[in-house]
């Protein structure tokens, strides 16, 4: 066994929410901090195991180097794809400004 990580704090939940592009209300922050702490406490049985020498498994049925033949073929219909977008301009996805205005 090893020491597990420290209990998740409200500030950490707020930080993680920012990373995940989620804006939480104070009430949500409070609720999620408590709930995530309970879930992570349960996960302590994994987090505290000494697993030195055990290889990780990311895929149970791993297959590698999957390549199709390099033959041109039609992709998705552009008009159909763009029709599903929230905002479009000249066959492109349109978004608000990405960077702050130049000084």
């Amino acid at each position: 066994m090893t020491d597990g990580p420290a209990r998740i704090t409200r500030d950490e939940v707020a930080h993680v929410a920012r990373l995940a592009r989620l804006q939480l209300t104070d009430a949500e922050l409070e609720l999620f901090t408590g709930q995530l702490a309970v879930i992570l406490d349960h996960a302590a049985d994994v987090a505290t195991l000494d697993l030195e020498g055990v290889a990780p498994t990311a895929h149970a049925m791993a297959v590698t180097n999957v390549l199709r033949s390099d033959t041109p073929r039609p992709g998705l219909d552009r008009a159909e794809v763009l029709a599903a977008a929230p905002d479009v301009e000249e066959h492109r996805f349109r978004v608000p400004k990405l960077l702050g205005e130049a000084p």
Partner: protein, 485 residues
Amino acid sequence: MTAAPTATEVASAVRSGTVRAASVLEGHLAAIDAAEAGIHAFNLVTREQARNDAAAVDAAVDAGHDPGLLAGVPVALKDNLCTRGVPTTCSSAILAGWRPPYDATVVTRLRRAGAVVVGKTNMDEFAMGSSTETSATGPTRNPHDLGRVPGGSSGGSAAAVAAGFAPIALGSDTGGSIRQPAALCGVVGMKPTYGTVSRYGLVAFASSLDQVGPFARSVADAALCFDVIGGHDEADSTSLNRPTPRVLSVLDDGVEGMTVGVLAEFLDGADPVVVARARAAAEALAAAGARVEEVSVPEVALALSAYYLIAPAEASSNLARYDGVRFGLRVDADDTVAMNTATRSAGFGAEVKRRIMLGTYALSAGYMDAYYGKALRVRTLIIEGFARAYQRCDVLLGPTTPTTAFPLGAKVGDPLSMYLSDVCTIPTNLAGHPAISVPFGTDDAGLPVGVQLLAPALAESTLFRAAAVVEAAAPDAPGRGGGTT
């Protein structure tokens, strides 16, 4: 619930020209009209397209062509399977109204076999849940008791099959999302070996765990559907490029000489009635000629914790695509990052937000080794534990779920208690193995109990042979007096 025909019966009658696909469809649409308002199995019933598809099947029969193995069989699709031009929402506000520009491979294969899609079924939002209560369109109710959950996340598909809305439905199973609702609704539900059924067009939740599979009212129907949807697909880079087991042809081969291991860890903590049903199913296999013994795979006790680190980690990455740019909801804001944040905050429900944050945290600097890294190593231990058991056993047996269907609202405020309802199904997802839930009687209140069979990777034939024997011995099997309620 009803005396509705099986898929095998429908396909056989339609192919031989004795029954019209159109009349089969109208019968099922009438069943939907009669009971759907109280159940809410569907997000969308595709009535007109279904009528056109059924007419095309009848026209093929009239022209002397064979429409295929599922000729005229109504099927319901979980609403995370892409259908070209038909809304696919994952029961999330962030995808409300989205019409995919392509069909999932499994949808294409069902249609080519003559199946008639009747609608898109309700689910937990993005398949995150075990009760169908996290759906943005409201919960589905269990057809056996409208005050109880159907299980989840594929609760709409399970309920649709149980209620006689369709003989077959497709679901997806990341941690039990086919088998658990199948058990709670009293139908058959099967999770194939990872990589045997294409994930192309399945909206991703946890890509190393997600697998599409069938719901049906009989093991034979589930086998028929698996044979139709399985097989290599070059559009899915995780699809296994090797022959997929064909299972319909081996259903009657029996279990003589098989060794069945009753998995001790799955019996621990399960309700006594569920344990009793599992033991009775094991006895039925013994009576049919199998050798039955108790086995222990202690590593599965770690599966729940590993799963709730791995699945959210993968989900946090997969769900990054819902950013308000290319499809789905957009909530306007001054700049793109603010727009992304406003869109995701408004579009995702609480359980999805919880899992995205859990996964982001498990992958974040300083915690990745302790959480995600450890979980991947535990996954190795679980695979090794199963491998040990399968040196002695051909199949393993245990409950599908620790309890029968629980009341609506009973677990929504306590995520961990909800997660624990998947404790018997999660280990096979981590191992990539196939498993099936078969109805096996009821509890004292008349609620269905499911028995789960597990097999090694690509041993679907063994799995289905054992499932057929369990089904034939079930207390409410046809010809055994009980009948369905």
